[in-house]
Symmetry: D2
Subunit: 334 residues, 4 copies
């Protein structure tokens, strides 16, 4: 039984507690937050879990094997460092850290102590992303042409990060997980509407060595929630609408067959427009599956898709995109 | 009765013929196309309309007062010039021309001969755009924050223009019509997937002197048709989903009220999430309304919203965006 | 070339004229309506078509081979009789007649003069119904369990018929076309809300000798347009949403496998919930296809699916349902 | 603090436990189920809650003030009787009982011992039903014309009840809550597809003394989940789509104005088609709100909308509808 201490019981913390509490092979022993009121709420639901406002108490506890860090990004590096020093495995909210050097340092530290790091890129564990990954790996879509994701809603304005670090972080982790290519450059545009110096709208374009292109549209100030990703391949195209409860993924037998005959200026474009197929997806809650993977990873070393290295790659692209964004769309080579 | 000759009976031509034929105050006298087969189709439906494969025959005809030019962009300038020389008013497909100097020359030529030019920016005549324009003019949305438009489908690959000239042209004309600001710079990214050197995917960001930002996502290679525009203001936000037959425009009483108190680092963000309102839109077909405006413009000089000057402004932004696109997202000042 | 005269240029007439005018092998020679204003509209669009307010003029014309009767139901029988007497083939709006004896008389009369009758059950020619018919005929769905159709909107209140004759007429013709079984009884409930004695809401249940059941929900007083039909078979289930422009038909690999073991009171129910498949449908306009079938039927005797006999069967069920409706849900054996 | 014992931890039980556990003023002390495995699951999530397979143990416990009965309908009467004898307040799953006499007996028994009964008609506590109730009470819709509800999905086949008792039960409770009229008759049609003698498809029509009519379509064998209710009034119409996460209720400024002039046979029907309004709904989870109402009801006698009498009325209509269903649509007076 893996004993878990959870630091941070704000917006996301309750989900982490609920899932680690329900995961087979794990139990939550203690929850820490600076706010006593939210701890009282936790206590009402889970009277058997200890609570504390003192992080050191949690980190010192010899009963705790692993620490879930569910706090603002700006605190990740320091808390993770402390937890690793106390020989705790860590499960850490995304994005992993603010800089790639911090992430690298934490990875190194964990490895030297034989501790594990998992970064909370939950989406990778959803039935939808698992199905897309499988379809791409099996070459059902053919050579990929583009990845175009929109993730907007009237979101929580974060105080320590902009919309790119908050939302594009998801799309970048999904893109890297699915694609087999590393981008060569990024251009990010966007704007700050309010006096907090945090961009609340951003548009990212990643160029790839092949003709593949990726685009990400993120926005904290949208009246509607849109979470739609289009992935087009030469053979088939896919739309992932994460809002749709029943038909999240649709695969279109659509595309163009292009031929250019000798001596002809015009292309012969032949449109294919065939059936649509909506595959059934696994229904298990992603957080539950991820929590159980964490247990397996720590206890048996079973390989995971969201370890520290995966988290580091996302941070690298976020840093590059952020530099472009701050310089009004400057091309940043990666 | 305004007698109209239509040049070009390809994809869009039949709609132009049908609407000018049905418009009160106008009648179509002749249709010209290089393809005799499509002329036969026209003849089957409208036996009373003359047809010809010889454009000169149409332009020479003294019975024809105005010419509708429904041909590829690359031919616009030359045909328009000829028509103006023959003293015909012109109705011309969008985009007006390939360069702003061509557009300026045609405008000057028309004015010197007291002839009229209308550019076919049909969307400006839809119930949806008319309603949005009214809401913005009445300040229902408050100070505008962003304009974000997606216009994608498995489209006709054009041979003489890329997706920017083909599709973004619509969004730019709508943006300029609605907004009261002229952009200061544009950044366009995108890619060519096939060997025709025409970009089939493009993403445009327009920066404005105020903190307003506009983004346009156009794509000829999407399995699904999406035509969604989000317009956010400080008071209210609007979503225009042009695919929805019954609820094209929704106005959301949503937003954030932001306060920053003295001595506080954190913003106080207060989310508003109220009712949604779906205004009833005018149902008249946009093309019909536009055809009748053309008649009024020619016969009584009634001011229109899509004259040569409006067409020229669109061409200017398309040229700037195209330069950025060809230079991998270079910032182009406007 | 089949020369057609159209009687009635009200709500539906313009579609009939447009389609017969565009159909290969046919041409519309004359349009008749009692209202001169609507004839002027027809003349504006189709200057080559003759118009008249005198039905006799049309019926007498030796140039006219077939007559399209697009008038209120109450006039069908008399006009059809006159047209047949004048040796015209007839295309007639649905429902064919008010009583089955009228329909039988017209069929007999036509046969004795070697004339053809087609009843305008347009839906049978849509890509959607053609696909459903094919799937049922190929036994893709397995033994049919139920047919459940909802057809509601804020409709035109008819003066001479109730919502059952107006709207359920469509569903009954589709049901009879697809199913291979004749119902044994009908129960219809509904109500009259206004002082015109015409029911504007009606619910029909048809019982079949097998355990199959059919239900039809029709309503002229719905704020939204719904046109959804569920057809369930033992192997697969189908949803036809006629409002959806792109995904009208979805086939669900869903169902239950039921086993009852000896000595057990409880059933063992095993739910299947697999993929969804959205077949591509033919895109041709149904009215165009029907118009061309009419030409073929008249000129070459090519069998059609909506001849007088098909129209008569629909009338029989409408009569039975209407009797039940008027008697507050009395069971009417068929 | 109200101490609650929960009997039944099958499909719905975990939600009841979670909500009473989280409700302020209440705590779950013990959970009982015949299946030890499901009790182990409860124990994993809530280690502080006692579990037992012996219902008597729970009923005997002096620490328990109220019992939540979350078992099949066929057991309701006996368990409720026992609980009342032990002086426990009861919260009981819907439908209350199988017969109105059982319900009446339980109500009388509770009243004589000053105990409270709440029947779990959860929907009455949703933001949607609360808003509809308010709109009807305020006469926003005007005189009601019809209530038409569809509640279908691929549901759990129940062993002791048919689809009418399982699903139509919801619609009937909502209908009675909203409407101010008691129906005069019911006609129910439907069918049994499998050898369990439980109807899995049913259609109910309720006639009312005014011209109001209500229709309910329930089905356990639908490939898609539909939960749509149309409520039309003379002034406005409303659509409640419970599947839509963001726009559950839409109010349409649509309708007809009907005038019949002297000496005229035809009605003058004037269609109104105006704006649509989507009111913001309360977001609290219905079960949570209901759990807290139960606490208030027991502790302070605060009036509730789903007491034993409300449950009894639903049972009366279910019994009448069931008799009609078993007799192939016989009209049953109420």
């Amino acid at each position: 039984m893996l004993n878990i201490g959870v630091i941070g019981y704000g917006y996301w913390g309750p989900n982490i507690v609920r899932n680690f509490n329900g995961a087979s092979g794990a139990q939550v022993k203690m929850v820490c937050d600076v706010n006593q009121q939210v701890l009282n709420k936790a206590k009402k639901i889970f009277p058997h879990i200890e609570t504390t406002t003192d992080m050191e108490e949690l980190l010192r506890s010899p009963d705790i094997d692993a620490v879930a860090i569910v706090t603002p990004v700006s605190t990740h590096y320091k808390i993770a460092q402390k937890a690793l020093k106390r020989k705790k495995h860590i499960f850490i909210e995304k994005p992993f850290t603010f800089t790639s050097s911090e992430a690298e340092e934490l990875i190194e530290m964990a490895e030297s102590k034989d501790l594990k790091i998992m970064v909370d890129h939950t989406f990778l564990y959803t039935g939808a992303v698992r199905k897309i990954k499988q379809l791409v790996d099996e070459n059902t879509l053919g050579k990929l042409l583009y990845f175009d994701s929109t993730r907007v809603n009237l979101g929580l304005f974060q105080h320590d990060i902009n919309v790119l670090w908050d939302l594009a972080c998801h799309d970048i982790s999904i893109m890297l997980h699915i694609m087999k290519e590393w981008p060569s450059a990024v251009i990010a545009t966007g704007t700050v509407h309010f006096k907090n110096d945090q961009e609340n709208v951003a548009y990212l374009t990643f160029y790839f060595p092949s003709r593949m292109i990726a685009h990400i549209n993120v926005n904290w100030l949208s009246p509607v929630k849109i979470r739609t990703t289009l992935i087009a391949g030469e053979k088939k195209m896919l739309v992932w609408n994460d809002i749709d409860p029943d038909e999240k993924i649709k695969i279109y037998d659509k595309g163009v067959n292009i031929e250019s005959k000798e001596g002809q200026y015009k292309l012969l474009v032949d449109y294919r427009s065939g059936d649509i197929w909506v595959p059934k997806l696994e229904q298990t809650e992603a957080l539950k599956r991820m929590a159980e993977s964490f247990v397996d990873y720590v206890e048996h070393g079973t390989k995971i898709i969201n370890d520290g290295y995966a988290g580091l790659q996302v941070v690298k692209l976020l840093q590059a995109a952020n530099r472009s964004l701050k310089n009004m769309g400057e091309t940043v080579k990666i």
